[in-house]
Amino acid sequence: MKKFLLATAASALIAGSAGAEDIKLGISLGFTGPLESMAPGMQNGAELAIKEVSDSGLLLDGSTVSAVTGDSTCIDAAAATATVERLITAEGVRGIIGGMCSGETIASLENVARPNGVVMISPSATSPALSDMEDDGLFFRTSPSDARQGEVMAQIMQERGIQSAAITYTNNDYGKGLADSFQAAFEAAGGTVTTNAAHDDGKADYSAEVAALAAAGGDALVVVGYVDQGGSGVVRAALDTGAFETFVFPDGMVGSALEANFGTEINGSFGQNPAAEGEGRETFLSMAEEAGFDGTSAYSAEAYDAAALILLAMAKAGTHDPATYKDSIMDVANEPGEQILPGQLARALEIINEGGDVDYVGATNVELIGAGESAGTYREIQITDGAIEVVGYR
């Protein structure tokens, strides 16, 4: 029996290094919870890249790749930890695309991914706290840190002549991180923040919160919240009581639900979310359309890139062992090498298999900086006639 076990273990080890097999990737996103309307678009993005690589038959001697999804709930750190635990220990995934929200991502990274040595690439966790976490080189993100978003938002507001603003943020790591980084950037640029107050998600009524914000005043209200949650509640109450007319929406608020909830009532409000322009994005959008989903959905392109990076890094390292391929991620993401756009993953695998270098550009102009996070391009949006209109990129 002992010999048999030993033999099985040995053959498992050998199988880990060579030979075609089925590699599992985990997708841990908030399919329920405050960002549930964004999760399907992200899942589709990630699965698009996985399918592309799997169908090419060029990864690790023709290995196939399959996705295993799990619900990270976005807000419940314990549930997210349990989900990632299941993905790693029960499903045996070799890398994870996720988590979705910052607090949940920090928890599952600290409690499960790091102890088990599995790579996590988050498409959408943007808290500045993730930049300098102890991660053993296992954590990356294809979205930029909110420290950068705070600067961009402050800049957009300055250019639109808004000198004073009230901030309301959702009471979690994402909200607090972005609200603080925005306040610092806005004040450094000479603006005044009249108040920086938290709101809790899931309440029936936000009139008390809005009353406090209205008392503090300001030219605009910065709503650092979730569009399927308290963020919309605050905007609703502010519109009803006439407390504010202009709103500034960061990434958590820019979604189709915004148009559905408020329509023309928020004309003239503006905001930004991470999204690149250019050939890569165009290609991704048409690929998404062909696959039957909306590629403009927030963080869908980032999810595609996250999955692509993991798979290209595996090819580069010649193994799907996270402890080895984690070091190749920065390699494939950045220069030098031939530039790779969405839809060219097969081409990238060919180059890598021949021993060449690739520079993955992807759908969002991926350029990983610092400890492995996107440098960040943001698209500036504006609400015109009740619809979200893209006015520029920065």
Partner: protein, 337 residues
């Protein structure tokens, strides 16, 4: 002009929201107090039964909307109230038959009833989630505003705006009608008098030929009506999410206890007292003071707010504790807790 502006700010941010919230709490507290007065226990399932009744209202409203029925400018949900009350009444009567009647026969202590109602609360909770799910649902249609901020500013020329949502006016109006009807029923009709007699002294009521089971049934039916109306008004005015109905249980109980459990007048007063305290304590008064006393400078960044809005629920707790310490029977001399 400044005094008018101060008044408008006060009305817009304190008085109107607190009055609507108070009316919703008062209706909820009336139901709690009625059950306490006649069935002699604190019904913890009240909030979740409200959620269930409102879920039925929402489903019926959707049905009516799909059929194209509407009573513009009033919300269609009002039409759905009556059948929803009937369905909820059936549900609570079945619950009474299955759960509470057994303990009544046993002449169980009130605390056992309370624990049984906690069990009922969890079941109701689950039923609601099975019926409609956990997410936020919308049912309001009809005109949104009676006066909106922009019209008000144009009409009056004041710098401050005032908004009165139609659901807020509807809440206060309907609550008022329901309360008058309830008092008329309790004081003027034979059945109402029987209920009060049963509440005052069970044995004496039995001796004078009052059928206790009939009184109990009547109480449940009236309570179901109050629950569905309170829940629907809350859902129309704010938003419907089953979990929120569990959360408003605390202010509802605070209202009923402050007014004096078992005393309907106290429940109404308690509802408004709790609502106005919650809003007034967490409201930043800086703008009102700014208009009334322009010479007073509170200093940069001082909003003159006693408590942060996240401590809204704490206000109910504080009121409860103070009342229980100094006047355990409540402001209107109800039964002692």
């Amino acid at each position: 002009m400044d005094i008018l502006n101060a008044l408008v700010v006060f009305l817009n941010f304190v008085f109107i929201p607190a009055a609507a919230y108070g009316a919703q709490l008062a209706l909820g507290a009336l139901g709690v107090t009625l059950i306490y007065g006649i069935l002699r226990f604190s019904n913890f399932a009240h909030g979740d039964t409200m959620a269930f009744g409102t879920a039925i209202v929402i489903l019926l409203t959707w049905g009516l909307q799909a059929l194209g029925v509407s009573i513009q400018p009033l919300p269609t949900a009002l039409l759905a109230l009556v059948p929803a009350i009937a369905l909820t009444a059936v549900l609570v009567l079945v619950t009474d038959r299955l759960v509470y009647r057994f303990y009544r026969k046993q002449k169980a202590a009130p605390i056992i009833f309370v624990m049984a109602s906690v069990g009922v609360m969890f079941v109701m909770n689950g039923l609601t989630r099975l019926l409609i799910g956990v997410n936020e649902q919308r049912m309001d249609d009809g005109a949104r505003f009676i006066i909106d901020v922009r019209t008000f500013r144009e009409m009056t020329g004041l710098t401050e705006g005032l908004a009165l949502r139609s659901t807020q006016a509807l809440t206060v109006g309907l609550a008022f009608v329901v309360m008058i009807a309830l008092f008329w029923f309790l004081n003027r009709t034979r059945s109402g008098k029987a209920m009060r007699a049963y509440s005052d002294n069970e044995d004496l009521a039995l001796l004078s030929g009052i059928d206790p089971e009939r009184v109990v049934r009547l109480t449940w039916i009236i309570a179901a009506g109050l629950m569905v109306i309170a829940g629907s008004l809350y859902g129309l005015d704010k938003s419907y999410r089953p979990f929120n109905y569990f959360q408003i249980l605390l202010p509802i109980f605070a209202a009923a206890i402050v007014g004096g459990l078992g005393n309907p007048l106290g429940a109404i007063a308690g509802g408004f007292l709790v609502a106005f305290s919650e809003v007034a304590v967490t409201y930043p008064w800086v703008r009102v003071v700014g208009y009334l006393a322009p010479w007073y400078d509170p200093g940069q960044g001082n909003l003159m707010q006693l408590l942060g809005t996240e401590y809204k629920f704490a206000v109910s707790f504080v009121i409860l504790i103070v009342v229980l310490l100094f006047r355990p029977t409540g402001l209107f001399r109800g039964k002692s807790v």
